[in-house]
Symmetry: C2
Subunit: 361 residues, 2 copies
Amino acid sequence: MKTFDVDLGARSYPIFIGGQLLSQRQLLAPYITGQQVVVVSNETVAPLYLERIQSTLSEYDVNTVILPDGEQYKTLAYLNNIFDALLEARCTRDVTLIALGGGVVGDMTGFAAASYQRGVNFIQIPTTLLAQVDSSVGGKTGVNHPLGKNMIGAFHQPQSVLIDTSVLATLDDRQLSAGIAEVIKYGLICDEPFFGWLEKNMARLLARDEEALIYAIERSCRNKAEIVAQDEKESGVRALLNLGHTFGHAIEAGMGYGTWLHGEAVAAGICIAAELSRRQGWIDNEVVGRIIALTKAANLPTQPPAELSLARFNELMSVDKKVKGGKLRLILLKGIGEAFISADFDPALMNASIKACRESQ
Amino acid sequence: MKTFDVDLGARSYPIFIGGQLLSQRQLLAPYITGQQVVVVSNETVAPLYLERIQSTLSEYDVNTVILPDGEQYKTLAYLNNIFDALLEARCTRDVTLIALGGGVVGDMTGFAAASYQRGVNFIQIPTTLLAQVDSSVGGKTGVNHPLGKNMIGAFHQPQSVLIDTSVLATLDDRQLSAGIAEVIKYGLICDEPFFGWLEKNMARLLARDEEALIYAIERSCRNKAEIVAQDEKESGVRALLNLGHTFGHAIEAGMGYGTWLHGEAVAAGICIAAELSRRQGWIDNEVVGRIIALTKAANLPTQPPAELSLARFNELMSVDKKVKGGKLRLILLKGIGEAFISADFDPALMNASIKACRESQ
């Protein structure tokens, strides 16, 4: 098992990565405050792993909330189901929430924990690759609004993150690839050697080679932990983690949440960001080619959906959380491993890049 | 005009108290971040004061949200109206929200500001006495749940609090008295001389004598600011501000939000806390008599509603935010100006006190 900390002073917490961790009581107990525990999961994950967690936590008063599975249910209305359950079970401020599921379950459980009685503790047990390498670490929580992704939420750090790689055995192929999109992202923003490793080892990841998966998860989480430690609330460097996300969020909201998986939308968004960086003269054809090739090798889309008009793209991006003083800021590339934030791009080139990506190949 | 700061390090902010402040642009402009402003108000206050604020802020892009008036609308569903308005107006992270109304508007606007894009700025312009002396200061924000008051929320401090005492001219008598309940509370928890002043000046407050009102508001806010500065997130002394509130919240939720005003429920709750403190032997008959006399002089209820059973009281109090390790903690009195938190009371005496208050007089 690998262990390391997200270093946030008084809010620091450990990440545990390894096989068969769900049954290890001693990894959970130190992070549970009182006697009351509420496990939040979804209809896909609960039948597979809920009983195992319940038996690991047999000494606590455990209640459960089962949400429907999918990004389209990441709403304020479904969040209320968690509050209903907490109050029906008479949970007090020393309750501990546990998120057992993918990014949607983690984001909603975290926001419920941030808001219930103005803040209670929670633990992340991510069960998708995407949640394991990205969304379970760093304390971003929230729900979507029809007009924008993750528009309602809070920064609220978990007590610990338990990454059991054995659960990836039951993940479907499309979800696995979606997670790899965020793995590729780390290589691109700050870790060129890791990008090279991914180019050599993509087949092993897709074949769910355990050693390769653990390596990719640990390296992704370490990259993320380092960035979050520098800038918890995204006033600077943390924005780099949004490479591909401004375009990706527009795709998710524009197509209807749940139509494209988050990782799929981010993959296409990364390709647009690469194309725009090339047109700005910051990277060359060869770099763009490597990015597209690796994205394709992961069975991820490299093109935004044909249905989404340029006007709709621009409208959806106008509320992006990185807009400042009326100006959109994007994460762009000066090379592999060299992302930067910029409001200093040509909007015409941005629109041309979206169009070019949509029409290419 | 009186001005002083709530001292919270990087989150410190000023409180301005005086007549005709709504028209003073220079008191608002320094606390508005960008160009976008959203004023949240309600159907009672908006017709009276919204136009004045809009003209004061004519240089900004101002949008408005008008909520229905009353505690029964302080819900997650109505909160969503604010998010809808923010997104329809394409508000970005540098938007400033302004709460123009009583405690409900302030709590909801503050929670919307805490959650929109994971946190934006807001300004409090409280228009009821209760909001001016209590809820607008200190950063507690949130909404109710049918099973518990203020169960969903966040700590989120405003950029400034603008208290225009002229608006109290249009407040109805019942609301004025409800505000006085929280004023009496400050005397009881930490300011015996102020309690004495209130005994002498209650008639002036009820007659809306401007000098008396400004004095009572400033003294209340200074007391609150001092306590909040010591303990922003209520890990200790701040809990004292909840004198009468555990009983009061049970009355509000049990009777249906909006039936009893918050201040009315707190007034009856304070009388129960005083009776329990007397039965525990911590205060004598004379002190209880002074508390009941002052509460009556303010035209406030001293008895909980006959309809609320002891069992329902206990059920509603079981999720109180001060419950710790399964034990209810209450704010009780060792004298006027000497409140303390205690789990060390006899539950049988508590129930007897609720009964006695209900049946007395």
